[in-house]
């Protein structure tokens, strides 16, 4: 309660209220995220339950009864007879799940390595940042394709079909940690030179405690900004990887997989299979991006004008 009051009284919230773009994007993002989280309650069908599907419902136009079965779907159905609305809601869950965990993964690796590099300096710093360079050499697409290959080699056969999602998370996360590490290192170098760190050394705090208890909380603002923008990026990356055939499995499609499937119907007139997932992805990524943008400006006091 106290926290809430403080949050409402904070400058951040004040600048939030003054930015219509931020308010609208927050509303859109929250609506979409809630819709995804509560998909099982909101969606009229469960598109992940293959037994409930009737292939003959395939390619129903939005709001029009299907020629074979007579059933009608608000946003139509896709090539497998899945209700597009339900598929989008469930797909958004997968996209957000992958995005959020990938960002979390990248954040944990990036923040820890960035902090260690900044605090230890010298050789440790050089090695970590050199690894970051090598990592940057491998763009996310390549990383994902390679990890897919590797994971296939190591996962037992009966787990391979569930592997895709985790491979996505790891590969998107792996290709994303560098920017966390770089930003955290930069911020931590600034913090490290501050006197409160000296004060902590002086009273006998060990390096681990100083890194995580003192420096870490002070570098979280830029991390938050990057995390927000990375979330949008991760969702898009997942979609891109899906185009290359290393995305979420078609039986449990993410938004990206839906778009990959839908783009095949761009010329054939079944526009709804592409249009609705694409618009959802656009809204989701755009609102998260705009929020990240606003957050970046709002957390940078120097730019507060």
């Amino acid at each position: 309660m106290d926290m809430l009051k403080r949050a409402i009284a904070s400058d951040l919230f004040w600048s939030f209220k003054r930015s219509p773009v931020a308010v609208i994007s927050a509303l859109v993002a929250i609506t979409l995220i809630l819709a995804a989280v509560f998909a099982p309650l909101l969606a009229p069908y469960n598109p992940f339950d293959p037994a409930s599907l009737n292939l003959m419902n395939g390619f129903s136009k939005p709001m029009e009864p299907n020629a074979f079965t007579g059933e009608s779907f608000v946003l139509g159905t896709d090539d497998q007879g899945r209700d597009v609305l339900s598929t989008i809601l469930y797909g958004m869950r997968i996209s957000l799940f992958v995005g959020a965990l990938a960002v979390l993964f990248a954040m944990v690796i990036g923040v820890v390595l960035g902090l260690v590099a900044a605090y230890a300096g010298g050789r440790t710093d050089a090695i970590i940042m050199r690894i970051a360079d090598v990592q940057l050499t491998f763009p996310s697409i390549l990383v994902a394709m390679l990890i897919f290959g590797i994971a296939k080699g190591f996962t037992p056969i009966h787990l391979r079909d569930q592997m895709a999602i985790w491979v996505l998370i790891i590969s998107i996360g792996l290709s994303d940690w560098v920017q966390f590490a770089r930003v955290v290192r930069g911020a931590a170098l600034v913090e490290k030179s501050k006197e409160y760190v000296e004060a902590a050394i002086l009273i006998g705090r060990g390096p681990v405690a100083i890194i995580f208890k003192h420096i870490l909380p002070n570098v979280l603002s830029p991390v938050l900004v990057i995390a927000t923008i990375s979330l949008a990026l991760a969702i898009i990356s997942e979609a891109t990887l899906s185009f290359l055939g290393v995305g979420a499995p078609p039986t449990q499609p993410s938004l990206g997989t839906l778009i990959r499937i839908g783009q095949g119907y761009l010329f054939s007139g079944e526009w709804w299979i592409l249009f609705f997932p694409a618009v959802t992805l656009l809204l989701l990524a755009l609102s998260v991006n705009l929020l990240g943008d606003w957050l970046r400006d709002a957390l940078n006091p120097k730019l507060d004008d």
């Binding site: 390549l142 290959g149 990026l233 761009l266 656009l282 120097k302």
Partner: protein
């Protein structure tokens, strides 16, 4: 200065070795090339014989060693798919990718910097907000979809621009260019926009935030206090200081443009190394995959090195900070 260059070069070699190892170890798992190299009529005995002759049954380290020994001699093997030296294939396709990457990079840099400067100088206002919001659309849709939508609009519906390929190319020695023919230039437009859109948004945002930062510096206030015109302040003082950090990021971005060309090349059937790589992955053409990755790292390391040198050239503080 010289020792700095030597140091960077040594580091680069280490990076390349690491990339080679990683690349090689990963490709082992992408699939089994044997399946694609033999026709439908292959027998189990054929498979075993081919595996043996390709050295795929050797221990991993032996294979890596062979690969390294070959790589050092400039021989990364022969494409399993096309039966031609992988390096030669890569070099033959590189001009297409490099031209695409270059044009995209120029598109991204020029537009990104111009829009970035505009939105930094005019921090508020409808045009700025419009630019900022719409540019985000470019990063909020996957590249392949943007490419396909562009094809749909400009090739299929309007029939203005070609939907695939490089158009006519002209050979200048070993370099084939599409920049000298009208059809080549027309063919470049859609792919470079698709490829550059994302980087443009990034660069624009970077320029905007760097320049906003620079515009708050004391020397800008002092310049204003000396009565210099806004034009002189913005374009002579602020822009130059803004561009120094932008160079680094832009350098990294060009590196990733080359890698991201994989998607664009697939969508537009652009005959570059990215398309070659995707074909190779599907065919498990290990020598080509490895060469591609090595090429990407060489480019990346090279660009990094160039950026460092450029940095030295532009920023006087670094120039003699190292020397004296």
């Amino acid at each position: 200065m010289l020792s700095y260059i030597v140091k960077r070069a040594l580091q680069s070699v280490l990076v390349l070795l690491a990339v080679g190892l990683v690349a090689f170890s990963m490709f082992r798992f992408v699939g089994d090339p044997v399946e694609n190299m033999l026709g439908q009529e292959r027998t189990n005995a054929d498979i075993e014989r081919l595996r043996e002759s390709l050295g795929l049954n050797d221990p991993f380290l032996v294979q890596y060693w062979d690969f390294l020994v070959g790589a050092v001699q400039g021989d990364v093997g022969v494409s399993f798919r096309q039966g031609r030296p992988a390096l030669e294939l890569i070099m033959e396709r590189a001009p297409a990718t490099l031209e695409l990457a270059l044009v995209s990079a120029i598109f991204a840099m020029v537009l990104g910097i111009v829009l970035g400067i505009y939105t930094a100088i005019n921090r508020k206002g409808p045009i700025t907000n419009f630019i900022l919001s719409t540019s985000l659309i470019g990063v909020s849709l996957p590249t392949f979809l943007i490419g396909i939508l562009l094809i749909y609009i400009f090739a299929v519906e309007l029939k203005w621009l070609p939907s695939f390929g490089r158009g006519e190319t002209v050979d200048l020695g070993w370099w084939s260019t599409g920049l000298l023919t009208w059809s080549g230039i027309k063919s470049l437009i859609l792919p470079s926009i698709t490829l550059g859109l994302y980087q443009m948004t990034l660069i624009m945002r970077l320029v905007r935030s760097e320049m906003s930062e620079v515009l708050r510096q004391d020397y800008i206030r002092f310049a204003r206090a000396r009565g210099l015109s806004e034009r002189a302040i913005n374009f002579r003082h602020a822009v130059k200081n803004t561009l120094i950090p932008v160079i680094t990021v832009a350098g990294l971005q060009i590196g990733s443009i080359i890698a991201f060309a994989i998607i664009t090349e697939t969508v537009f059937q652009w005959p570059g190394v990215g398309l070659l790589f995707i074909d190779s992955v599907q065919f498990v053409d290990i020598p080509v995959m490895a060469s591609y990755l090595m090429l990407i790292s060489v480019m990346f390391v090279g660009i990094n090195f160039l950026v460092d040198m450029l940095y030295l050239a532009i920023d006087p503080r670094l120039r003699d900070g190292k020397g004296s």
